[in-house]
Symmetry: C2
Subunit: 304 residues, 2 copies
């Protein structure tokens, strides 16, 4: 093992889960953690996700980690890349868990992976919860999840070892082009988030001055409402950076959905509605096999 | 007990579940079933949801049921009301489980509940699955669910006894005005359905000619995609009637969501996005207490 020291920057839900997953996988090296919110790093320390809490940004450099994992939202990840690049050396790997990859991959090309510079491997585990914070972290967070990498340079031994650790977390590792990543994630993650936020906000505004109506909404609303608005609980703090760094792709998918909804609305009484249902049925048929596998993995995780 | 004979018209997912729930609740009378699709009635008979399968529409009248439960989609419910009204007498109650209530309640006022005519109690259990059919029926289908009634006449002993049976199914009974029902259901049920259908259809069309992209969608898509497109599997056959009988309310909610999505799209890089997230967060906070109760009931149902 080359990796003996890991530093986690941003010890919230994902960062602390990385720490717990490392320990559960038998990683016996030292894990440092830094969070600008000292409550988060204190919680991470308390639950054993990190061994030591770093007091300052400079402490992250001084920790001389073999692998530094950036687990903040995307904009601070870009800032940390600027901050760390000049201070680390080519024996050190930096990786991240940011939700968009195009800007991070571009900066990785610009600032890392050159002779004399540290290495950078952009990454993105498809895992999370609608609420954040170290207190919700789980060692099993990544079991059955896909962990994407959008590599910008050939793998050295550090990259290989980090990927092996990620596999020990129970994740499926998959490589992807950064542009393609942001395009596909706009469809499968960012659009569902924006729809859920829009729907929950709309319901809130519609029934805000109608307590009897809101009570009926809550009494009548079942699984359909719960599932389509669940992501409405997601924090702006994380999604702002996704929206900032994947604006065009997200706008494209939202505009397409607006058009599709208008088409459904205009055809509520015509056979065009049947076509929409038939096409949606086809998508779900494809989805189901894949979903069943993932769901059963998630169920196992719950039961364990 | 006055109710000794129940006839279920439409022995699919909900109809057969009503039969199973009756038996699980200790109902010791006779349960007849009719379905225009004889495979459905054969399955219902086989799983013990009904005691006897009626061979024709005339058989439904000849069964002389104390309570006839109409469990078809909404348009056939309206047809059955026309068919049954002249043939039944005031000792008989007809009720239904249709997803929209305005047109059914209007017809109930017109054709039932007069001296010499049968009684009619419009009903709507907030339960179901995205796939239909008697083979998926469950005695526990209504446990923890809300069962709405939109009464159009004073309750007699038959109505009271039917409501007591519904409570034995584990459902929460709630009265509501039919107009209000259709308005609230447009928001909490019909809109989520149309959004899910539109989103799944859009994904299908976008990636239909891009197998590599579709594979990526399936590999990367997690719980967010699964939950927001799950209802995309719902059958047109049922939703056509909902769309036909609640067109204006549904169109209003879809148009409002289109506007809200456009606003999000235009503000991906402005503080307005923060306001949308904050408003959505508020809705979910209200939802959560109610959801937790329902989810725990559903979990119990699963475990049992």
């Amino acid at each position: 093992m080359i990796i003996e020291r890991v530093t986690i920057v941003g010890t919230g839900l994902i960062g602390a889960s990385v720490g717990l997953a490392l320990k559960a996988s038998g990683f016996s090296g030292k894990i440092y953690g830094y969070d600008s919110n000292t409550e988060e790093s204190a919680t991470a320390l308390q639950i054993g996700a990190i061994d030591d809490s770093l007091a300052s940004r400079a402490g992250v450099i001084a920790s001389k980690a073999d692998v530094t994992v950036l687990c903040t939202p995307v904009l601070p990840i870009l800032d940390w890349m600027e901050y760390l690049a000049p201070a680390l050396n080519e024996e050190q790997l930096v990786t991240d868990v940011g939700s968009t990859k195009r800007e991070i991959a571009a900066k990785a090309v610009e600032l890392f992976n050159q002779p004399g510079h540290a290495r950078f491997l952009p990454g993105h585990p498809m895992a999370g919860k609608e609420s954040g914070g170290a207190s919700l972290a789980e060692a099993k967070m990544f079991q059955g999840a896909t962990w994407l990498f959008t590599p910008v340079a050939a793998f050295g031994p550090l990259e290989s070892e980090w990927r092996d650790l990620v596999k020990l977390f129970g994740a499926q590792v998959r490589n992807m082009d950064a542009e393609r990543h942001d395009e596909v994630c706009a469809w499968v993650s960012h659009l569902p988030q924006m729809v859920s936020t829009a729907l929950a906000a709309l319901l809130q505004d519609t029934f805000a001055d109608d307590p009897e109506g809101m009570a009926a909404v809550q009494a009548i609303g079942g699984r359909a409402l719960r599932e389509t608005t669940r992501l409405g609980a997601s924090p702006y703090s994380m999604w702002r950076d996704v929206a900032m760094t994947n604006t065009e792709e997200i706008a494209k998918t939202i505009a397409a959905l607006e058009q599709r909804l208008a088409h459904v609305r205009e055809n509520l009484r015509t056979p065009e509605l049947r076509d929409a249902f038939a096409t949606a049925n086809q998508f779900r048929k494809k989805e189901t096999a894949e979903s069943k596998i993932k769901e059963s993995k998630e169920e196992k995780k719950k039961d364990a």
